[in-house]
Symmetry: C2
Amino acid sequence: MKKKKILIAQGGGPTMVINKSLVGIIEEAKKNNYDILGSKNGVNGIINSKFVELTKISKEKLFLVENSPGAALGSTRDKPDKNYCKKILEVLFKKKINTFFYIGGNDSSDSLRIISEANPDIQCVHVPKTIDNDLVLNDHTPGFGSAAKYVASVFAGINLDINSLPGVYLGVIMGRHAGFLTAASSLLKKKITDGPHLIYLPESNFSLDNFLSDVDNIFIKKQKCIIAVSEGIKFSNGQLVGEKISKLNEQDAHGNIQLSGSSVLGDYLSNQIKIKLGIKRVRADTLGYAQRSFLGCVSEVDQREAKKLGKESVKFSKQYDSSFSICIKERGRNLNTYSFEIGQNKLIDIGGKTKYMPDYFINRKKNYVSNSFFKYALPLIGKKFPDFGNLI
Amino acid sequence: MKKKKILIAQGGGPTMVINKSLVGIIEEAKKNNYDILGSKNGVNGIINSKFVELTKISKEKLFLVENSPGAALGSTRDKPDKNYCKKILEVLFKKKINTFFYIGGNDSSDSLRIISEANPDIQCVHVPKTIDNDLVLNDHTPGFGSAAKYVASVFAGINLDINSLPGVYLGVIMGRHAGFLTAASSLLKKKITDGPHLIYLPESNFSLDNFLSDVDNIFIKKQKCIIAVSEGIKFSNGQLVGEKISKLNEQDAHGNIQLSGSSVLGDYLSNQIKIKLGIKRVRADTLGYAQRSFLGCVSEVDQREAKKLGKESVKFSKQYDSSFSICIKERGRNLNTYSFEIGQNKLIDIGGKTKYMPDYFINRKKNYVSNSFFKYALPLIGKKFPDFGNLI
């Protein structure tokens, strides 16, 4: 019997554990004595014939790789159309690939759908990753737990910092469509009085008046206020708040002082707090790439699951001939115990779709998370945290 | 003999190890059977009679506190003038304080100088802390090593991220006057080709033309460029680059779209790269409060030294009657072995002064650090890092 030959690629924004899934696939494929090829920079490396031989890669190298943030094979933002996918198929045939494993978000799974629909003879396997946690039919996705741990650790530290020097702190968090990562800012709170005190999500309509009134209420009571804001907050007409501010700013600006950078939202909201509420000490941070790539802040649960999903995707690919997306099955509303069960979805059910925070993860006032969210997300960030306290 | 009574306070921006120094003082004072009082929010708590009784504090509580970022007693930005110091003195007398320990930066040490000059009978002891590492006559200051580890860990992760998805990344780092923390972005590089590729410090005059030309050169060669920029970079006339941009922007802006936030510098420089060099994928992050408060990223060397400095400040205070600032003695240019020696300085020699990066820590082109800087700073961030690697 001819040896099976597989191709692995990584697509979209890297995460802290995307290489765990990669190494999971490689280790399981090695057990099965497959020929293993990697593509550099996702699908882009396929059409440009940039491959990495992975069949004989050493255990030592794999150990280094699996503990590294970033995509070890390189990634891509290419979103293949039908023609692009045709080229991919040609190369896969030429290279005699039996199964193509693509680790990525919903764009990557959609590319696989197009390829597998064009020719069902090549098996396409999608292994999910995204810090946004916004894949439908997945309880959660590898990458989220570690990013959530990073965000929670930032806010746990900020809480102690603002406790020392009171004022208003506003942190803008990644997530254009879904608020899971922003909500995670709350996960390391020890006391009800700890920050963050307010959380604004893309799932709820944003009103500047309500926002300022919320901040004012908290600040009057506590002389401090810690706020987590998603970069994806929207007005009731669906327009991104950050986008509207950038546009207004560009219209107003002359010469080459055009500030439409990533930090505009945080700077705008903190200026509004200063001007409208007359609070002097206001600081805004826009949490950056470190959310997905910080070296040394990783959830051991996320790592374990990411690797397991890689391994299981190889096992499932032996059992099924058709293409699929591997997943962590949804717990639904039964959040009292944490369960980790692996299943599969059809590619067509995943690609190009977005999962949002359900209503029952958000409080009634739409400015904080619910207890259900804590139950849902807390197990995902692991248990390796320093405990902390203060004297005032 | 009457029991000795001491007062402890924390001032200025918190660090990840400022509580190590606090607990070092408390533990050593307990050994000596002192009465120990803490002041809430630095000198502000003294004049407002907000004190915390610390003599009988439990070991368990101290353990929690010493591992927490933030100032456990609270901090202050108050910079006392002579009248303020007079009030402080009155309270210290009323409370029968023999020695006042103030953990803080050069502002705090200057407050102590004023107090001790007004009445030499009360011994004032300054215990240094600052993430900026800018205290003269100190080899380095507690707080810097952990902040440096955080910044180095961000850039190590960014390097792997930008390796996956090439482009330009620019990170703006804290430090208004001294570039030590910005320079630390380089400390976890494994290969010469790893980022950061360019580092801009407050110690060297900034030229936008030279900056763009540097970025262009790197990007043409590598198709990527990772840049670390200090928030304190200045033009040759001494004006802060960030300040100039904020002012231009405020003049240009109408209505309430006045963006003068903390992120203006990074957004401006990344826009310049996009516009003038025509590079599409450019991302700027302004590293925020997490640099001084992130929970769970701390240098074990920094922790040990911060605690030791607290303990030694109590021992020194028994040997000397006069006021002083405890310090880690300067290594000078002999950087081949790391030495940690404790000494003391006069308050007048520390307060209100700033230490800058010496010339021999900066390269000839003023766009990177020298090997001497690596030798100087690498021991300070400790050794607890995950190793990392990739496949391309």
